[in-house]
């Protein structure tokens, strides 16, 4: 008999997972270090930080990539995460039988590239875009054209893994990774495909990107020591820590996975989303969009709030986010919110931005599979206004059957996922 969910739709299983973060490469190392409460946040060495208010990040420094750009590193870690996920799923590395949904940050030219093009123009005193046109026309930088297109990373990954059809590259700010998963879930539920490769990847720690977030006053300035900067839900939290990472998931129709004997790492039971029209960087003060989003995820999964055993928080460590997340979780879960474990992976890996939704969905699945909740580290000064069980500082054994994973982003992007250990 076919496995279907409460709405008669195919059940969506996770049959492959892979990741790279500042904690390391691969599921095993990441999980070991995450549950040991280790931090991947370090001093930035990629570019000079003199004169900057924030000088730390969760960078990925040891992975070779060419050219030396943010986009190339993002693509490389996406590829590494996908290799691991595809291997775990038991598909050939060049023959993934389904579409690709990639969450990736907007690709941009970087200063060294502009400088090189400007230099090639021969301009000396004043270098303007007219000069850059002339530098571009030399043809010496032709590969930069494709490499700086948004279509480049998804095309390269589609080539590499043999995914089917037009690859989609999406951005919903800090909810991007969760949106990539949602797109895959929807495609499987529609019966378009039995398999989807969903990736979130981000390697945005560049000079200008760091400065932009800094100018928005979004970043922690607790530079010393770096590993204590990210302190979600603490009274002294002072912003998020930029970080790099990639998470890849092979989603698969449960019956398709069972028929070929694949390992089932968990189930994506529900996806909820909502756009918040209040402000570009702030949530509606009443929390209605986030509350609606979480409730939509629960409804999509066909479960009541009581069924959730753990919340993998968005938990950025900005004063605003954590306050709002507490308010909204309390509204949905009522009195139970105070006793429901909720922890933030970002306390250790930082905010992996476009990757966060995918990376944290994988950590949520590992939490259930391994029966151990990763902690919120750096929780030394609890915020009395946030009376939640944030699993402070030390991982905890727990039997968790169902997890809510939240992702909220600039531009009013709210996405929540309900993940289960096994089919209902």
């Amino acid at each position: 008999m076919a496995h279907t969910d409460h709405s008669g739709r195919p059940v969506v299983a996770v049959t492959g997972m892979g990741m790279v973060t500042s904690l390391g490469q691969g599921i095993t190392d990441n999980w070991t270090r995450l549950t040991a409460g280790r931090s991947g946040i370090r001093r930035i060495t990629r570019f000079p930080t003199d004169g900057l208010k924030t000088t730390i990040a969760g960078t990925i420094d040891a992975i070779a990539h060419e050219p030396p750009t943010s986009a190339a590193l993002g693509l490389r870690i996406a590829e590494l995460a996908a290799e691991e996920a595809v291997a775990a799923a038991g598909f050939r590395q060049d023959d993934v039988p389904g579409p690709l949904f990639l969450g990736f940050p907007p690709v941009e030219f970087e200063w060294p590239q502009r400088q090189a093009i400007g230099a090639a123009s021969g301009a000396n005193d004043h270098v303007g875009y007219t000069d850059l046109f002339r530098g571009a026309a030399t043809g010496r930088f032709a590969p930069m054209h494709a490499q700086t297109l948004f279509a480049y990373a998804p095309e390269m990954l589609a080539d590499r893994f043999g995914t089917r059809g037009s690859p989609i590259v999406t951005s919903t700010a800090c909810a991007t990774g969760a949106t990539a998963i949602q797109l895959g879930v929807e495609a499987i539920r529609r019966g378009e495909t039995s398999v989807a490769l969903c990736i979130g990847a981000d390697a945005s720690v560049t000079q200008e990107a760091l400065i932009r977030f800094s100018l928005l006053s979004a970043l922690s300035q607790s530079n010393d020591p770096p590993e204590q900067a990210a302190k979600p839900f603490s009274a002294n939290r002072d912003g998020f820590v930029m970080a790099e990472g990639a998470g890849a998931l092979v989603l698969e129709e449960l019956d398709h996975a069972l028929a070929r004997g694949a390992t089932i790492f968990g189930i994506v039971e529900g996806c909820g989303e909502r756009a918040d029209g209040f402000h570009r960087t702030r949530s509606s003060p009443d929390g209605a969009p986030i509350i609606t989003c979480i409730r939509a995820a629960l409804a999509d999964a066909g479960v009541a709030p009581e069924a959730i055993g753990y919340i993998n928080a968005h938990g950025t460590g900005t004063p605003e986010n954590d306050r709002m997340e507490h308010q909204c979780v309390s509204a949905v879960f009522g009195d139970r919110a105070q006793h429901l474990p909720i922890s933030s992976n970002k306390s250790m890996i930082g905010h992996t931005l476009s990757a966060a939704g995918a990376v944290e969905a994988i950590f949520s699945l590992l939490t259930m599979r391994n029966g151990r909740i990763p902690p919120t580290i750096n929780h030394f000064v609890p915020d009395p206004a946030i009376p939640l069980d944030v699993v402070p500082n030390v991982a905890r054994d727990a039997d968790v059957a169902r997890t809510l994973s939240n992702s909220f982003g600039f531009g009013g992007q709210d996405v929540s996922l309900v993940l289960a250990r096994e089919p209902a």
């Binding site: 570019f47 000079p48 930080t49 003199d50 004169g51 900057l52 907007p106 030219f109 200063w111 400088q115 093009i117 400007g118 005193d125 004043h126 270098v127 875009y129 007219t130 850059l132 046109f133 571009a136 930088f141 032709a142 930069m144 054209h145 700086t148 297109l149 948004f150 279509a151 095309e155 059809g165 037009s166 690859p167 989609i168 590259v169 951005s171 919903t172 700010a173 797109l183 929807e186 539920r189 529609r190 019966g191 000079q207 200008e208 400065i211 932009r212 100018l215 928005l216 989303e273 909502r274 756009a275 918040d276 029209g277 570009r280 960087t281 982003g409 600039f410 531009g411 009013g412 992007q413």
Partner: protein, 390 residues
């Protein structure tokens, strides 16, 4: 006919030809076609500049206007127009369950800052530290929000109250194709009844000119319509375009009592490595899957760069009348497919095709029943849609 047919019930289109469907229809039916061009602002490139807009009409708060750069304003404006045409604008109940898929690129650079930095950085003893100081003091704090790809959608949520959901697809031309394709697939499967889909592109940006020029894609020899241009070196003439479509199920449109402009009968998208013949092979498969009627006409959003010669040869072999929407509007990258779809839907709603845009395009005076819209990315990606009378 099915309750879950995907109908276009509102179009917001702004371009060099004007604002709204009537302005476009008039400009397209005054042969010989006269494009609106700007050859002065960014030599040696010729652009199709955006028509003058009264922003207050769709973005009433000056504060909102200030928080955006041009590409976002174009998108928010076009989205407002589409919602208005579909009778959705201002209806909180409908907006609260409108699902948005935006095809977006990245936002404008601060050109003055870029040029000042590039002019001076070479003279600095410690360029890295100097750049930190300059960017910390010269970048406007809110510029980032005007650059982020998903903030076109974010601003549409803020200004127009579209809050059902919000997703942004990137990927240049195919981002636009996939936005429509995914919206239609969700609609057919009951994963939503009401969608706002589209994008906007600001062509008046030296940073994007530089980007395309790196790949030799920009036309530098003066403007010509697409077919004539391809006999004279080819190349892309960019156009500023904003286009959003309200797409909804037949049952939903009927319940609201709105008159649809056209039906989206199918959308196909695929990729290839663009070895000779590969894009055409994708188009063959897509044509077969969509199986247009023998009297269908074809609109193409060909860029003039990349595989356009292969595309025009493939189109020619169909033996059907064609129109190049990029001759009319310029190439609008992320917005180019939604805009081509809009012109197709417009023609279907009027019952006949618009006039040829150059001598190479054949007249077609018969009743219009089906329109194929073809869109190949200037680098990669092949998309095709079939539109039919509603």
């Amino acid at each position: 006919m099915s309750d879950r047919d995907a109908l276009i019930t509102g179009i917001g289109l702004i371009s060099s030809l004007g604002e709204g469907l009537d302005a476009h229809w008039d400009a397209l039916n005054a042969p010989p076609f006269a494009p609106v061009l700007d050859a002065e602002s960014y030599p040696p490139f010729t652009l199709h500049p955006m028509t003058k807009l009264e922003l207050d009409r769709q973005i009433p708060k000056r504060g909102d206007q200030r928080q955006m750069e041009t590409w976002q304003r174009l998108g928010v404006y076009a989205a407002g127009l589409a919602l208005q045409e579909a009778g959705v604008k201002g209806d909180a109940e409908l907006l609260g369950r409108t699902h948005m898929i935006v095809s977006a690129g990245g936002g404008e650079r601060d050109v003055a800052v870029d040029e000042a930095v590039l002019s001076e950085i070479g003279k600095q003893p410690d360029p890295g530290t100097w750049l930190n100081e300059r960017l910390m003091s010269d970048l406007r704090p809110t510029l980032f929000l005007a650059q982020l790809s998903n903030l076109m959608a974010g601003n549409i949520s803020i200004v127009h109250g579209v809050t059902g959901s919000s997703r942004t697809f990137m990927g240049e031309e195919l981002g636009g194709v996939d936005a429509v394709r995914v919206a239609c697939a969700r609609l057919a499967a009951g994963q939503g009844d009401l969608f706002l889909v589209g994008g906007a592109y600001n062509a008046a940006r030296p940073d994007v000119h530089m980007h395309l020029a790196l790949g030799g894609a920009m036309r530098t020899r003066g403007w010509a319509p697409l077919h004539a241009r391809m006999h004279d070196g080819g190349g892309t003439a960019l156009g500023s375009v904003g286009c959003f479509l309200v797409i909804e199920s037949r049952a939903h449109a009927a319940a609201r009592g709105v008159t649809p402009l056209a039906r989206i009968a199918g959308v196909q998208a695929d990729r290839s490595r663009r070895r000779p013949g590969e894009a055409a092979a994708n188009a063959d498969r897509q044509w077969q899957a969509l199986s247009p009627s023998s009297d269908a006409v074809i609109l193409t959003a060909a860029s003039g760069a990349g595989a356009t010669e292969e595309e025009l040869a493939w189109l020619d072999a169909r033996g059907r009348p064609t129109r190049a929407t990029t001759t009319a509007l310029g190439h609008g990258i992320e917005a180019t497919f939604p805009a081509a779809l809009a012109l197709g839907a417009l023609a279907l709603s009027r019952g006949h095709l618009f006039a040829p845009l150059e001598d190479a395009e054949a007249p077609f005076a018969e009743e219009l029943r089906q329109v194929v819209v073809n869109c190949w990315g200037h680098w990669r990606g092949e998309g095709m849609a079939l539109l039919a009378a509603a």
